[in-house]
Amino acid sequence: MSEGTRLENANPVIFQRSGERVQTASEEDEDVHDPIDDREIFDLIRSINDPEHPLSLEELNVVEQVRVKVNDAENTVGVEFTPTIPHCSMATLIGLSIKVKLLRSLPDRFKIDVCITPGTHASEEAVNKQLADKERVAAALENASLLEVVNQCLSTRSI
């Protein structure tokens, strides 16, 4: 990268990754119904790549398991994410990636709500409003270059 494209936050704090979910005997039992729980939703989003760093959202502490709330019976999912710095210009993009990942990975009975952890971003309200607006999300995904960045965040890294 040339000098012009300096990262906004070149040396962020890194957090430890949680291990893989431990498989239980009941998960291997054909007859037991496993409900969708917080950890399962967290596992969906923790490995999303940061648009700038070669790190996952979990390692940057942008998403945390305590900020994921799911209610399987009432079909709702709520995720709060925390940008690394209050002026992070990538906040909308990160929110969009989380939202798209959940839309692709959850049954359509769920209502998915993605927003910024209160008090952690300068233009929190604007971003939240954008992410809550179905049509604006749909419109954003029509934009090829935006979709490209989102897809890159969602693909498993190969290099």
């Binding site: 040396n11 430890q16 049954p107």
Partner: protein, 1106 residues
Amino acid sequence: MSILEIILVVINWNLLKAKLQWKGEDVHQEHQENSTFASSSICSVLFGRYVNAALKDMILKLFFHHLCQRSSYRDTMAAESTLALSLVEEFVSGLQDSKAKDAAKGVKDGKFTVLQLVEALGSSLTSSQPHTRARGVHLLSEVLQECYGDLTEREVEVLIAFYENRLKDHYVVTPPVLKGLKALTKCTNLPPGSAVSMLRSVFQDIHVQSLMLSERACVYSMLINIMETREAELKGLGADFVFGFVQSMDGERDPRNLLLAFQIAKNLIHGGYDLGKFTEELFEVTSCYFPIDFSPPPNDPHGITREELVQALRAVLTGTPKFAEFLLPLLIEKLDSDVQSAKLDSLQTLAACVSQYEHKHVAEFLQGLWTSVRREVFQTSSEKIESAGLAALTALTSCLSRSVLSSDSEDSLSTFLDFILKDCKHHLCEPDLKLVWPSAKLLQAACSASTRASHIITVAVMPSLLEQYNNRTQCSHRRTLLEVVHRFIHSVKNCQSSDNDESVLLAFREALCSIVFSALSESNSSLQITATSVLTSLAQQAGLLVESDIELALDHLTRLLLTEEDDRVSLAVVECAGALAQLHPALVITKLIPKLKKEMFTEPMNQDQEEVSELYSHHAVRQRCLSALAAVSIQPSVVQESTPVLLEVLRSAHTGSVNFSVDEVVLTCRSLQRIAERVQDSEEAGRCFHDVFIPHLLSLALQAALQDEGSSGTRSPLVEEVVLSAMVPVISTSCSRLQPTLAGQTASRAVSLFLDGDVSFLPDNSFPSHMQLLKKQEGDSWSLSRLVCLLMGSVCSLPRSVEVPQIDKLLSALEEMSCTCSHPLSYTSAAKCFAGLVNKKPQGHSLDSLIQRMMKRVCSELDSPSSSVRTQAFTLMIWVAKALLLRYHPLFTTLTDKLFSLLDDADLGPMAADGFSLLMSDSTDVLNRACHADVRIMYRQRFFSENSAKLVQGFNAAPQEKKPNYLKALSNIVNKLPKQVQVTELPALLSLLLEALSCPDQDVHLSTLSCLEPVLVNPPQVLIQQLEALINRLLALISSPAMSVRIASLSCISTLSHFPVHEVLPFRARVLRALAKPLDDKKRLVRREAVQARGEWFLLGSPGGR
């Protein structure tokens, strides 16, 4: 002057005239001058119209004079000339290219000579039409290409002179001329000086880059040929040669030619040619291709890859330190590029070039290079670039370390390391930030370059790391710091392998030990794990740790083994103990083993009201002690101390003097097995196995079995079948590693024990005499009969050279047992033992009759539906079949035919289908290479190719309800084939496998999916043609009632998304719709697979995806 020479000279001369005449000039004057050397021109007869009368006379005279000399073979010559003439005619005027081959053949077979050909070519070579001349030269060049080996030096010289002259001709003549010259450069008898003159004329008369592709290739090949044979002459040409080459390759665009040009440039540099003042030119003309940006067109017939070009160019650019001043700035510039491959190439080139350089070459670029490398490592998202950057830094540092310091120059190594330390060291103080790792890696890369660098860096970094560690309180920080320290120890180790200096880390020994021990005493498990690996690396540094450190370390490890509950920690501790035992066996024997032994033999406290959790934790402690004992036993001296402890455990478990659970006894056997596998081969270890191990195990098993038979009191854990099965690998592993003499003794002892009841070699000898272990026992007791599995363990794993005594008696006893006994472990073990012996029995009549006798018996049992021992007979047959398959025995087919016929059997059909899996897979305890069985390579492929057709046939003929058996058998076979074979065999079987996916048996689904999955990774064309059918069937299986089938089919669907995009894109919408359903599956594991598959399919054909 030879005739050939004359002809060619005249041709040249005539052409010159023709040219001049055409220009309207008088050539007469020239005739006079040239007439002497054109003396005997035969050709002048032929081309008389150019020659004036006076000259003609003279020439004719000379010509006839010459002909008279050769009159002896004049007549034959006439015939030859006509043949040559007709060929020439057909080639030149008839435009039949194939005639060139005939002409070449004619010359080779001696029908006519090159001279005669030139004579015949005369008119075409001197034609006023450039195209005719080109055609003429073309024929000559084609012929020369075939026959350059037969020319004399004189002929070569003349031909070269002719061709050189032709370079000045019309441009359409040039291509065949170059071809001819190229052929001539291959001559071994090139006259001295001609190579140089040839090159001079090429460089002078030809502008290479305005030629066509193949002619340019011709020029390059000429250069390569000449450089191979005439190196000295070319060097005499001096820098002119370099200049000529630079001019001719300047602007080359074709990758094929570039490969040639790069090769020439590399030869120039490595061959020590004088580059003179053209060094920069040569660099410019090659470096303008850097970094190579080339993607071969699809289906490229030339098969040139980017990698080839990159390597060829790199060899040129990095070839000489003279390029340093030009190359290094270029690399710095290209590192700034946004293209990943350019960065990678630059870093790799940097690493390659500095290996040739000295410090004076790099001195002025150090700052720039460091800045670029640092930027890449700090910011990159690609591991490849990161590791290339680190490798480049290591190479650069070792280049600087190599150079000899002179008193006046500054020490460039320490200057450079100062840059690195200044930029990286402070990041090490921020263990929770991102840059701590890249900084540590950079420092370690420099550190591993040389001893001097590692000294400078460790002295600068280590104190602050150690201080940091002691000041930080958060475990995660401490862990990061400890990991960094660990890597430093590693990188110091890398650079120290060569010399025996005292360790760089010696000054820090105490401090390092103290942080390791403090980390081991922490309660954080990941900190403890890191500490064990640091401890291992420290111990592996020769001469670093002193005895008291090791003792302390062993104390810590013992404490952790006895108290720490976390599995990952105990695993790490066991591993570390193993590493220490390798280096310090004596200390492990005195410090570790007694403590472990004591701990294992203590009973849990207050036995009456033992709490479950306490019992559990006591079991866990024993388990850890057992695995630690196994891990430390690599050196024979340790083994001699550790195995008695383990045998003691078995004995106490048997007598009941100390309470050991069945699980613990099994684990003890596993530990013994591990020791038998890992102990270093030595006489000592063999003795230990032979004298102690095997007799004790057999004796204990026998005692337990007898006791079990006699009394109905408390059962010894040793009579449990799991324990017995765990003993088998202990015996077989130790027997398989015995030296031949000991193995022979062991074999005869085991056989006489089982056949004759000879118990004399067993310790604690209180056995009844004349036991009949292989005879049918009274009543229906199995406790003695199943000991046959121990017999199998010993006699089936001996080296093939060892002869088993009384083998015929033994085999018939085993056959009898396997066909009559009703106890599964007994009859299966007897069958396996029989098969194991059959596999090693030498080829011959006695083996054949043995097999035939056995088959007769087995078939009679199998053919009578009322027989009670059909399963037993089948088991014996399938094991013997495996034994014969492995050694390619011809009688194997008899057994397979029987097996195929059993697929239709109502009771044994499914068992027969599973039998194919047994045939194709490696067995763990017998008939494998570790047991010295006779296993031929590729027996699976052989079995498959001989039998797949039969299977398909049987499938087609079988009634509907029997078809699943065939499919199951097929998928069992295909599943075990090596992947390459699967891919090639798949086309024939694909429809059958697809059918298997839609048959109702879930096991068949699972096994078919598991053989499809590896094939899907690199799909063959035939699979792509059947894509529609495949996707339909896979999507149907998503709703299978079996969870494992759902998971397997989803994972196959996920792999499908990696097929060529244009093939799978049409299915995208359908697959995405179908995958929505399993997202709400009731099982989490299925949902996880569905999410994965759906995510991949979403990325398909989408920007930023694939």
